[in-house]
Symmetry: C2
Subunit: 470 residues, 2 copies
């Protein structure tokens, strides 16, 4: 297996050197005293909130992070390996709005959150339950994070994500995980939740993110250490400069995690892209973002780290052709460049603003196609089928052969949404576009899918824990 | 630059050996006596129409084909190199129907053909004018091919394609090219048209294709030697077996072309895919087709030949999300696997049945995005921008910097169709989906685009040539 790589190895090293120069000479602001303390003890020079990291310190700490790790699920059939040749999908994260064909766009609620958990649990292609499909606007701010984690735990047996709401969010997440999965000692042996912690580009981390990074590192829980530099706005309008900034930020976060606990599982997460200079808006459907995904994967391989990038991200406002070509570009680029963790793999619309029910189904089909491609195919005497080719001969056909019946189910992807009937059948059944088919499909899934229930005593303990917070 | 490759090198060699075994032991039917004659003289064993090719003969002839070549245009600014790291786009080929939002689906006419020539000529991303966007149903069958070539020559200064209508189609194409570009001797020095010639899977070539291959080879004009095996129908339901059949067929065609004229420029063209076993139909939007594209590219690199694969192909019946995700999957896979020639790069819908005006515009945007990715980016002191990063510092911004203004226009792709405004602006301007925006756009182009005129005397000579045929 050989990944797509457009940077030469000397260019990768040049970007690494640039990031080392930035961390040593420009520095990075950590707006949280305990994080400054850890960095100082680790050998960094501190000036107020600014931290200057010598290259030796960075390189030494980075080496302590594992190249791959397992994230464990409630049902061990859903355990996933993050790193190596593996690729996992996690649906949209952090949207304010939800939309569907029936009700248009509106603020998300806990019921919407629960619906997306169920769609994720039912999907054959989504691997991890997103920690925040949408902000549930009908839940008081102080307990949103625990309500979301509880809803995810109850409605899905797949791996889950923790809260990024600072020290408290991380501690509550870890407490809830230990109610379900056992003591914190056990948790650190068998990680149970992954969280996404982001820098504030350029070259800042705020208290909330630093607090969470430190708590999760202490508990040995995996983290996506993430940077979203916006070329032309929060980083240079050149993608090389943007990559150097992103890389410096992510490395600083990883150093902090490793200084807290050696071997903390981390993912190098690059979500940088460009600003659209006409509108000033962030563009997530741009080819520049896809290029950054491929480049981030090269940097992560250089460091021997798992990598996050891509997603079914788009600038489109409706699940139309634009939404689909932007999302497929980003998903497939992640695949071809060897990305291990794809966040926003289903449902996300209008940059990161909205979760669409129909787009979730459309994107899930894309994820299925990308996973079929990931499987590749075997070349061996049976699959080459030379005897069969001789038997059929020039001008013959293979339709009624045993070899065909033996193989097509495993060899061919079975679409769940795409139309493959002929034009007249399609027309006769209502000329339905993808979005209309997806609307029908998501309702069918919500009506029929049953999650594996939480044990009653665990459920009760979780509810008690939440009650104490309110 | 490193391409995506999922077959190991031993697997590539195994497929090669399988193809050699097929050509030597199963044989291939050539339904055209002059082709049998050439193969016999070249050293093949002939039994009736069946030709058995020893591996030594195949390997020796394949080596004579160039690894890359230039296809010349009426305007030399549009000359293209086919092979190496290059990738050229040629829109949809061979559809029966056309469609747009205003008139729905209908049989194609010469006026539609002309419109697509103009859209191709106007596009910044399409490189070669398709030889048969649609079958012009209003033109008598005998002169369709010359009318299409004339229409392409008159309305576009980009490189063109020749007719695949047997010996006569090829000879007429070559005659018309020499009216515009000079003698046949000059043509063979500076190739002016590329044609697509296909096997009849499994393991047959008909008279029409063989006649054209031989004529074009004599005239030194480049050819896409193409196979479209349908896994489960015309080849085994395993993709390895399908690749072996495709490869055997294409190699046989290339051997014929090289035996006619050593060094004939050829492209290894693999369009194989799978049957959808529920409907029995060919699927062009399948991940299996994308895998075959990537595998074909590996085979072509093994032989040192340029490669064709992929396209904006889809099973969708409407330019909706499905059309877009299938098309982008196929286009981007071509890019990441190092494909040189992408046929069907814009407009094609409903497998190969229909050309859609709106989809042409949507696909052209995708082609622009894929070409932006192809460009990659530079890593150098200016693009890394370390001094600027230090000047801005943690927490600053880059919006008003000279470096930003100097770079964003060349660094960032400018969409021609995609919406990047915010949700409320999009809503205020009519909540238009991609297909509605594309409808407006294609009409604007047809109203405003002016082709570089043919010299009047050349135009007259072409018309006289056509008149003589009727």
């Amino acid at each position: 297996m050989q990944w797509y790589e457009f940077l030469t190895q000397p260019q990768v090293e040049q970007v690494h050197e640039a990031s080392m120069w930035i961390l040593a000479n420009v520095g990075i602001d950590l707006r949280y005293a305990p994080a400054l303390e850890v960095m100082k003890k680790g050998g960094a020079r501190i000036d107020g909130e600014r931290v200057f990291l010598p290259a030796g310190l960075v390189e030494e700490q980075i080496r302590k992070a594992p190249a791959e790790f397992t994230l464990h699920a409630r049902d061990s059939d859903f355990d996933v390996v993050i790193g190596g040749q593996h690729m996992v999908f996690t649906p949209g994260y952090g949207a304010t709005f939800v939309a569907d064909l029936d009700h248009g766009r509106r603020e998300g609620t806990l019921n919407d959150f629960e619906n997306f958990v169920k769609l994720t649990d039912a999907s054959p292609y989504q691997d991890i339950c997103s920690g925040m499909f949408i902000e549930p606007s009908d839940v008081p701010h102080e307990i949103r994070h625990v309500q979301m984690i509880y809803t995810a735990m109850k409605n899905s047996a797949k791996p889950i994500m923790g809260s990024a709401m600072g020290v408290q969010g991380a501690m509550d997440s870890i407490m809830m995980a230990s109610i379900v999965f056992g003591s914190q000692g056990q948790l650190s042996q068998k990680p149970r939740m992954i969280s996404i912690l982001c820098s504030l580009t350029p070259l800042v981390y705020d208290e909330r993110m630093l607090g969470a990074i430190m708590e999760y590192a202490r508990a040995g829980q995996p983290q996506l250490i993430s940077s979203l530099a916006i070329a032309g706005a929060t980083s240079p309008a050149t993608l090389a400069g943007t990559l150097a900034v992103q890389n410096a930020e992510v490395l600083a976060g990883i150093v902090l995690a490793q200084l807290i606990r050696e071997g903390t599982p981390v993912v190098m997460a690059g979500a940088s892209t460009n600003a659209d200079m006409h509108t000033g808006a962030l563009s997530t459907g741009s080819p520049e973002m896809a290029l950054n995904t491929a480049a981030t994967a090269q940097m992560a391989r250089f460091y021997g780290l798992p990598v996050r990038g891509g997603g079914a991200v788009c600038d489109a406002k409706y699940p139309d052709a634009q939404a689909a070509y932007e999302s497929m570009m980003s998903l497939l680029t992640a695949r071809f460049s060897g990305v291990n963790f794809v966040l926003h793999s289903a449902g996300i619309l209008d940059s990161y603003n909205c979760m669409s029910y129909e787009k979730f189904i459309i994107d899930d089909e894309m994820c299925g196609m990308v996973k079929r491609m990931q499987k590749g195919y075997d070349v061996n005497p049976d699959t080459l089928g030379l005897d069969l080719i001789r038997e059929v001969g020039p001008g013959g056909h293979f339709l009624d052969k045993d070899h065909t019946f033996d193989h097509f189910r495993t060899e061919f992807y079975q679409p769940q949404l795409s139309s493959r009937e002929d034009f007249f059948s399609w027309q006769a059944s209502g000329s339905r576009q993808s979005v209309a088919r997806a609307n029908k499909k998501y309702k069918e899934i919500l009506e029929t899918h049953e999650a594996q229930p939480l044990p009653a005593d665990v459920d009760e303990d979780l509810l008690k824990f939440i009650e104490k917070l309110t």
